[in-house]
Amino acid sequence: MDEINYTLAGSWVAASLRSASPLMLVLLGETLTQRVGIVNLGVEGQMLAGACFGFGAAAVFHDPVLGLGVGALAGLVLSLLHGVLCIQLRVNQIASGLCVMMLGTGITSYVGRVFVGAEVSGLAPLAGQFASAQSFWQPLLTQLTWIAPLAVVLTLVAGVLLFRTRTGLHWRTVGESSTVAAALGLRPRLVQWQGLLTGGLLSGLAGAVLSIDYTQTWAQNMTKGLGLIAVGLVIVARWNPFLVLPVALLFGLADTSVLRLQAAAVNTSSYLLAAAPYVFCLGILVVTHLRADRDAHMPAGLKAVFNDR
């Protein structure tokens, strides 16, 4: 009896991790981007690009790993556009992000038509059939691919990079104030490019994980606002990579619960359930915002973007 409970718990954890991985990656990317003082609403489009082109590459070359790489690159390329607009040309970041989002949505709908219905072979699970069957680890090893551990490790690495290295110190300084950073002899634009492109890479990877590893299909607009949710959740994670992990997991758990509720034949409209993540996201945004100390964690460079234009 206990063993079955453990297995059940394990399968919940596995399912949450699986559904949280794409969000974790894109949330991490946006966190790093915002740490250098750039808000990128374009991650939605970048995720779509990663999902679409990554899936295409995986389907055409029958290689999921290649697909993930191509997806990450696609995200990177779109984030380049955001960088040209808002770092080089000083376009309003919100507008520039919306533009990237629009182009990402449009181009992937256009190009992605040929991938609808294609098939990819997903990644292999961490371990094959576990002979000793029932245990907490069994579902984790059989249901998870190496993506989830990778996402977790990346958040930890990013945290160490940000808080314990000179590079991270430079990133945080630029995010606080480009002017001060420049006066200290740093090159703010260069640092901003680093943070932005890292974010682009991660968001593209997140999209590719979604289409290649999680759903294993491509559909138009399949990210359904996950990138935008990530932009919102950065605030909840207090611009801290170490907090990205619990926040994404919480979201993954909520997502899993909704799916399982539905599977358990609770009589609720699937459309209303589909709206749950957005409402949930807005809800925790309100709760986070109402806490008095939220501004204490916000990189000062972002205040200009968020508070006035």
Binding site: L85, L89, C99, L103, G106, G232, A275, L282, H289
Partner: protein
């Protein structure tokens, strides 16, 4: 004097030429003959009475959505919530229309009011979240778009579905009196007239009234609000209510006049197009009026091209993205090159 006029005509002229260039480039990129395609676009959007009526029919919701972006933008809020507000306005308006199947003509204003109220409610959520909890309006409007659309899907596939339709997800048809009157046999309906009147009213209010001045002050420096006795919280909620109301009107007029019943898909990207129109108009309602017409033409032509020339529907989104990109870049060019289309 004369030079001034030449300049004022030249700038928008140059921009239009530039955007046409973008469109031609796009056709080259997707491997279609650009000039021929562009000519088709012109004929499919303005070539005859039918095309023109299609264009004006699409202009209507775009103009509503553009005004819905312009009003909050006057307070510095970047609302991208036209789409969601349009759906919720359509939803509440439909509810009112279907409540009274045997109603007289009085149902028209009631229905429009219900639609406006629904849109205002949806926009108001963003306003309240912004004013009381500081949630950024761009994020909340984008997320609420998804929720609004899913709400309509839920009702149309579920409780409101007309069983007589068999598998087809839609409500019952609107009663005859709840259908907005159209101009002769065209698709041009009363909504266009309402939108145009509202654009003029907003032009006067935003540019020449004390209220417009208050918004200007609050947008530029909220710190002086207390000196003037202005209330930023009240104004934030107010502009979002007004914006939502406008998009909601767009939603219910579209459903009532064009579709005749509520379906899962009401808008073919009107919210997005409206946002672009507002941006290109530099938040000026009268300019938005003209630009909305051009975008109406673009969407109408895209519809026809999809049917007759197998140009995928996604092209319209890509094209709008490219136009937005071009506009953003031009606005940042060094000042001697800049064409200050929207810096007054």
């Amino acid at each position: 004097m004369l030079r001034d006029y030449v300049h004022r005509l030249l700038r928008p002229g140059l921009l239009v030429i530039l955007f046409i260039g973008v469109i031609l480039l796009f056709f080259i990129l997707i491997g279609k003959p650009p000039l021929q395609m562009f000519w088709s676009m012109l004929t499919y959007s303005m070539g005859d009475v039918f095309s023109l009526s299609e264009t004006l029919a699409k202009t209507t919701p775009i103009l509503f959505c553009a005004l819905a972006v312009i009003v909050p933008a006057r307070l510095g809020l970047i609302s991208v919530g036209g789409e969601g507000q349009l759906y919720v306005g359509a939803l509440t308006g439909t509810w009112a229309a279907l409540q009274f199947p045997d109603a007289g003509l009085w149902i028209l204003p009631v229905m429009l009011f219900a639609g406006a109220a629904g849109g205002a409610f949806w926009g108001g959520i963003t306003g309240v979240l912004k004013a009381w909890a500081g949630v950024h309006e761009t994020i909340s409007t984008l997320l609420l778009n998804y929720v609004g659309i899913l709400l309509v899907s839920h009702l149309v596939y579920g409780p409101w579905k007309d069983t007589a339709n068999l598998g087809w997800p839609a409500t019952r048809s609107f009663p005859v009196n709840a259908i907005l009157p159209k101009f002769h046999a065209t698709q041009i309906h009363l909504g266009l007239l309402i939108a145009m009147i509202l654009a003029i009213v907003l032009h006067v209010l935003l540019n020449h009234s004390r209220w417009g001045l208050s918004l200007k002050i609050l947008q530029r420096n909220p710190a002086v609000a207390a000196l003037s006795g202005l209330n930023p919280i009240r104004q934030t909620i107010l502009v979002m209510l007004v914006g939502g109301m406008l998009a909601g009107l767009g939603g219910i007029s579209e459903v009532s006049a064009i579709q005749g019943r509520l379906q899962p898909t009401i808008s073919s990207g009107y919210g997005l197009a409206g946002f672009l129109v507002a941006w290109l108009s530099a938040q000026q309602p009268m300019r938005a009026l003209l630009i909305a017409f051009l975008f109406g033409a673009l969407l109408a032509a895209a519809d026809s091209l999809q049917m007759f020339a197998h140009v995928p529907a996604a092209s319209a989104v890509v094209l709008q993205g490219l136009i937005f990109l071009t506009a953003l870049i031009i606005n940042q060019l060094p000042s001697q090159w800049r064409i200050p289309f929207w810096t007054k």
